[in-house]
Symmetry: C2
Subunit: 189 residues, 2 copies
């Protein structure tokens, strides 16, 4: 019998594709086995368990997202950088909803520390170099930007803004304007 050539890496990638097609929730070891035309038990030589698969998809997505962010930020500053990074998240979520959902998976502290999560915080902080904020305010602003990006993207993905005026793109631009104005004029406590 011919071997399928499974590897942990290939399984994680295929799992990410599957997530985009059917939703991250629906990613299952069984479905993945079907996709490789292989028996379910065979995957357990490459994956510890179902959670392991999900974690690997999450890590892969975080990495991919961080790579896109880094590319988008290169050579940009100020509002230009702000918008570029924000669009990376939004576009990624639209192109790869399953992967985006995976990136939201709650990782245990160990895994989280080794993930690309740190790069994300770092990129947001880099944007703030174009604005004049004191140290603690930078952290507050990083958290706020993360909240807006993630919050908007997930509400949009959940269909929250469809079928209503004005269209989502318009709101998104105006939010960029608003965040830029806010960062240029960050209020004292």
């Amino acid at each position: 019998m011919v071997r399928a050539g499974l590897t942990t890496e290939r399984l994680a990638r295929a799992g990410a594709e599957l997530a985009d097609e059917v939703g991250f929730e629906q990613v299952t070891v069984s479905a993945l086995a079907r996709r490789f035309d292989v028996k379910v038990a065979s995957l357990y030589s490459h994956l510890k368990n179902s959670q392991d698969l999900k974690t690997r998809i999450a890590l892969l997505s975080l990495e991919e997202l961080a790579d896109r962010g880094a590319a988008a930020l290169a050579g940009r500053a100020g509002k230009d950088a702000l918008t570029a990074l924000a669009n990376v998240y939004r576009d990624y979520a639209r192109e790869h909803p399953g992967r985006y959902a995976a990136a939201q998976l709650r990782l245990d502290p160990q895994t989280a520390a080794a993930s690309a999560g740190g790069r994300h915080a770092h990129m947001t902080r880099a944007i703030l170099r174009g604005y004049d904020l004191t140290e603690p305010d930078q952290t507050h602003a990083v958290r706020m930007l993360g909240s807006v990006f993630h919050g908007y993207v997930s509400l949009e993905l959940a269909g929250g803004f469809s079928h209503s005026e004005p269209d989502s793109q318009e709101t998104w631009s105006r939010i960029m304007d608003a965040l830029d104005a806010l960062l240029r004029n960050w209020p004292a406590p």
Copy 2:
């Protein structure tokens, strides 16, 4: 044999409690049956299926959250109202993480229309009466506030801000200051 007195209502309530205890993802018809010390099949007289149970928990949570919001907004305006509503979301998510997760469940349009979702948008819009925004900007602001509330709360729940300085409460207050300042000074396009 003595009857357990199951009703759809009681099952949804118990499901919500279960969600808070073990996480919304882990809410299962079987677990619920165990909780009532009843055979699994018995629940199917009261629930269409597993999805139906989840939907009912979501609706119940949305309703509860809207009730709390309405109570918090009564008699308040401006920044006071803004903070009060924001705290309702944050506190609810901390007290009832499972229900909060349930409230994020993607509902089909029919169900969503009949849910308390509309009340939520309505409450956010009510806050904006304390600020001076034109009509389309009100919608942009409603969406932005929703994003920040939801985004912050879910990142916080996912452990994003723990184990790092400054503490989450401090950031939360500063975000309230920032949103208030932003709404008082909403930028033109």
